[in-house]
């Protein structure tokens, strides 16, 4: 990757008792999630990228443009082409929704052109048409956050920064906003850096992930790679899962089932009608994947995939996290399986063993176990 296609950020310094030494490089496209527990320094990193906070030992290069370097270059926030969505919507109380949306929009019409995000498009994308002439005080939490997102988009950013945009919302409202964020990701070619401490949001939205803990970056890379790395906390967590990107092969409308092709196999997933060729994310929870040495006979389990055990890591006292590679030759996508030590020993499993990974289709239904 050249500088023109990446976001490079590295910041080092102390803020009170907190010491930060975090750096990462991510592709300047798709959603990069900054993930970690509360207080790990995610927001600090985001504020540094935005220039709202200035650590002298910092580097920030976005798409080839230097926003900060270690020789003292520092572009003030208002000169950085970014959008920032704060945890609380922070709408301007003295302006109507429409004027909030237009606050950061470039005034000169000369900027109109390719790649420009249009007012009507944003309003439609976020379903805020009916709110335009209202005062921010009269909106619900979810509506406010949608307006804040629209306002950031209309400033025509080259990078969108989102600091836990859902965390101040209740569960139902989160469920209402997430589809908007997915549409945003899919319809606009705008790189997004998204902070969250909720793994469900990462699984729904992220393409890349930067794992943070105690002011340090402990891992960075494509989401599925980090999810299936047993050396990182994601894979050994109780609710570990992998997110696979699948292409719809066919739709069985009689039973309401999709067949998704993922690397090294295909999965049957309950879903409403969808057209073939579309991409769909599917989340496979480690605890839902069982292993067999032989292909099972008659069984209710619809998904039986040949795979090979890549690694096995003991977790807690008597459980094992196995990383599987799909396909008879073990060259496909990675999957996690969490099983008891008893099963592991009874089946005489070991690294390199060929197995059949089994997942009930209902365990792959969209929305299962999300947004906890």
């Amino acid at each position: 990757m050249t500088d023109g296609e990446t976001i490079r950020a590295a910041f080092k310094g102390t803020l009170g008792k907190f010491s930060l030494d975090a750096g990462f490089t991510a592709p300047a496209k798709g959603v990069t999630a900054l993930f970690g527990p509360s207080g790990c320094g995610k927001t600090t990193v985001l504020r540094c990228i935005a220039g709202l906070l200035r650590l002298p030992d910092g580097l920030c290069v976005v798409g080839g443009d230097v926003w900060q370097d270690r020789d003292g270059a520092f572009l003030p926030t208002h000169k950085r082409p970014l959008g920032y969505v704060f945890q609380e919507a922070s709408l301007f109380a003295h302006l109507s929704v429409r004027r909030n949306l237009m606050f950061g929009a470039p005034h000169s019409e000369g900027d109109a052109g390719r790649g420009r995000i249009a007012f009507d498009e944003v309003v439609e994308l976020l379903s805020i048409t009916a709110l335009l002439d209202r005062a921010p005080g009269k909106l619900s939490g979810g509506e406010r956050q949608r307006v804040a997102i629209g306002r950031a988009l209309l400033s025509q950013p080259k990078l969108l920064l989102m600091d836990e945009p859902l965390s101040a919302l209740d569960r139902a409202t989160k469920g209402e906003i997430l589809p908007f964020l997915e549409r945003l990701r899919d319809r606009l070619s705008l790189p997004i850096v998204y902070i969250t401490h909720a793994i469900a949001e990462v699984e729904r939205l992220a393409d890349q992930i930067v794992l943070m803990d105690k002011g340090r970056v402990i891992g960075a890379g494509p989401l599925d790679e980090l999810q299936s790395d047993p050396a990182l906390p994601l894979a050994i967590a109780r609710d570990a899962a992998v997110t696979l990107d699948g292409v719809i092969e066919k739709h069985d409308s009689g039973y309401g089932l999709l067949t998704l092709s993922v690397g090294g196999g295909s999965l049957i997933v309950p879903a409403p009608k969808a057209s073939t060729g579309e991409h769909r994310r599917v989340r496979v929870i480690a605890g839902d994947v069982s292993l067999a040495r032989e292909p099972p006979g008659l069984s209710s389990i619809l998904n039986v995939l040949p795979a090979r055990i890549v690694s096995a890591t003991p977790v807690e006292a008597d459980e094992i996290i196995a990383v599987l590679a799909l396909g008879a030759d073990g060259s496909g996508a990675r999957l996690l399986s969490r099983l008891t030590r008893k099963s592991w020993e009874q089946l005489r499993l070991a690294e390199g063993t060929s197995v059949y990974a089994q997942v009930k289709a209902v365990a792959l239904a969209p929305g299962r176990g999300e947004l906890g």
């Binding site: 709202l52 208002h78 970014l82 920032y84 301007f92 606050f103 950061g104 005062a135 005080g137």
Partner: protein
């Protein structure tokens, strides 16, 4: 005018003129000062805040005494007056404006400072992430959001200027038609046993003060409702 004798009417006119000029000047001076006091991280800013607030606790005679020296022929006021050939700013309307600005300053700075502080950093950060320069953020975000504080400051500044007595007497000298304002006129009427005239002005001031305070309470309620 209004059937009032001119020695009642002229002080009323002069008072309104003085209070209006003072209030406008104060908004221009106090707003940036209040902004700085609300936003600066300088350790010595509270020292400046304390100096600005001195007129609240100082006896008006003390304030008036030092202003008299500063405005007089040997002070900076005299030097300024010499620019247009005058000897002094003391006992002039200009001197009265300067004295009123100083003595009413804390009543204007404080509510504006509080209003700026109440906005917090967030709206300004949001403005910066939306490409607004600090100047634009001040005019389009900070100032409108602080407008209730500016209004309160303006009303208090106006009312306090109308009510000032000691400073005005010390540096104005109560010269009819030039520096005799309502508060000093009342004093004069009492001295000369014109109880009826004194009562007319004093009663008017009571009604004025009541109207000011009531309208401020109502305005604040309305702002609070509008922003809820």
């Amino acid at each position: 005018m209004l059937g009032l004798p001119s020695d009642i009417w002229v002080p009323i006119q002069l008072t309104i003129e003085l209070a209006a000029i003072t209030t406008l000047s104060l908004l221009v001076v106090a707003t940036p000062l209040a902004w700085w006091l609300a936003r600066s991280r300088a350790a010595w800013k509270e020292g400046v805040a304390a100096i600005v607030s001195l007129p609240i606790v100082l006896p008006p005679t003390v304030l008036g005494f030092y202003l008299l020296i500063l405005l007089g022929p040997d002070g900076p006021g005299g030097a300024i007056a010499s620019l247009w050939g005058a000897r002094t700013l003391a006992f002039t309307f200009t001197g009265l404006v300067i004295g009123s600005i100083v003595s009413s300053m804390p009543f204007v700075v404080q509510p504006i400072r509080n209003a700026f502080a109440a906005i917090g950093d967030r709206p300004l950060e949001v403005a910066a992430t939306l490409r607004a320069s600090p100047r634009r953020a001040f005019w389009t975000v900070a100032l409108p959001l602080a407008s209730p504080g500016l209004l309160t400051g303006a009303v208090l500044g106006f009312a306090h200027t109308v009510g000032e007595f000691g400073v005005v007497l010390m540096i104005g000298g109560n010269i009819p038609g030039r520096t005799r304002v309502m508060s000093t006129a009342i004093f004069d009427f009492v001295e000369t046993m014109r109880w009826r005239d004194a009562n007319m002005l004093a009663g008017g001031m009571v009604v004025f003060a009541f109207a000011v305070i009531l309208s401020m309470i109502l305005l604040e309620k309305r702002f609070a409702r509008a922003r809820a």
